[in-house]
Subunit: 235 residues, 2 copies
DNA sequence: GACGAGGTTTGATCCAGGTCAAGCCCGCTG
DNA sequence: CAGCGGGCTTGACCTGGATCAAACCTCGTC
């Protein structure tokens, strides 16, 4: 079995976990799925277009963005490996989905997928729970965008990534690769590239993080980072 | 039948629409419901507390807020008459719910309500759709908080209220009562009271709105307001 | 009808972060 | 290995909105 096919099966299995499906159903699911790659920067879903896909992210990072009429951009969500992408119930998209890095997707055609949801209540429940998580995340971010300083925003973002990526998030010395370039960080944090860059060097200067190349991040102290982020360590 | 009881029945009916219930079930629903008033400023739900209520808003405005450790506040959602309040699936609350004006609620105890959801898939679907709407609204607001100027934020907010409250939202001359005081507007828009006040007088000066007392708002031109909000009139 | 207390407006000043403009770094290609 | 382009950093300057400080307005209450 080639790599491509294995990845697809893996994504299908992951999805199937929610729905408690039989082997036969799992096979049927695998039949309708297909595997696709996107290069960094490519648009996967356009705003105001009817939704035609539902996908499981195999690898890479996807940014969900909104833009004003005059072109100012805001990232309203990030999706990483193992996250789902798509809008259920035939709604048109309210944002763009773009590959922030190279991305591999396992795609389920939307009509077949909607039928699947109708058949498996557990799957629907799973999606509901995910939506509630997304809502909580969006509201957390509203506090950040509305009330936090540039320094706190950058620290909060690093903390978010650390919790998501680092193998031992509680430990000092956690490290990971920054999945976004500076411009995307700025669009996520409601800042400019220059401010993001300055805050990163400031964090480096104060000895809270180390930066290797431009993407490698090493955290010296989780507690101090949480402190800089202006939130209790538990959040 | 007294006013109080009539309001409760009305709220129960509204809820029942989603679930396509029988009369007998509707009665049972009515039995578990009770009616309660909150004065402006009162806390209805505290952050990090287990959720103990699910309610239909009969009248008034509720603000959902988050606060930083040092007390900066951000409103992450507003609820008006006929909206639902509550968190399903036994999650603890991530924010405060406070009465922004005097509020009347029709409350369903959470355990009974969760059982009800389990029984009526339509009701669950209805809540799911509402959550998706909330998520869209939150993401719209992220664009506002991250990328819009003070003038655009205030205009956007007025536009939002106009669409929700004015009897003929498309027409010029639409008018409504501002449900929030300036401090709450500031907390919703990620600004300070002073800036909100200045932008309101600016909108008045440019002849886009008229302000009667401090709460009465009259819109002279929906199109110019949408323009000031930095968005296409359709949004 | 004087008196507070909360809410709102207005003015003067300040500063965090935006803007503009180089320069740097690094991988890619000819 | 020179030249190029995209991304990142750094510096100098500017400005929109925050901050600080009055005044003002509108009520309910004595």
């Amino acid at each position: 079995m080639d790599h491509l096919h294995r990845c697809q099966l893996c994504a299908v299995r992951k999805l199937a976990v929610c729905g408690a499906m039989s082997d036969e159903q799992l096979n049927r699911l695998n039949e309708i799925a297909h595997y696709k790659k996107y290069a960094a920067g490519q648009t996967i879903i356009s705003s105001d277009q009817p939704v035609t896909l539902f996908a499981n992210i195999v690898s890479g990072t996807i940014k969900l963005t909104k833009v004003t009429v005059d072109g100012r951009e805001q990232i309203v969500g990030l999706l990483f490996a193992s996250d789902f992408l798509g809008r259920t119930f035939g709604r048109t998209n309210r944002y763009f989905a773009m590959a922030a890095t190279d991305v591999e997707l396992c795609i389920f055609p939307s009509d077949a997928f909607e039928r699947l949801i109708a058949t498996f209540p557990d799957l629907k429940q799973c999606l509901f729970e995910r939506t509630l998580d997304d809502l909580d995340a969006a509201r957390d971010w509203m506090l950040l965008l509305g009330r936090k300083s540039a320094a706190e925003r950058v620290a909060s973002f690093l903390l978010l990534l650390a919790c998501r990526f680092a193998r031992s998030p509680q430990q000092a010395g956690a490290q990971f690769d920054m999945p976004l370039k500076r411009a995307d960080m700025a669009d996520y944090l409601g800042l400019t590239v220059e401010t993001v860059s300055r805050q990163m060097t400031r964090l480096k200067a104060t000895g809270i993080i180390e930066i290797k190349g431009t993407r490698g991040i090493k955290l010296f102290s989780m507690a101090r980072l949480a402190d800089a982020a202006g939130q209790s360590p538990g959040d």
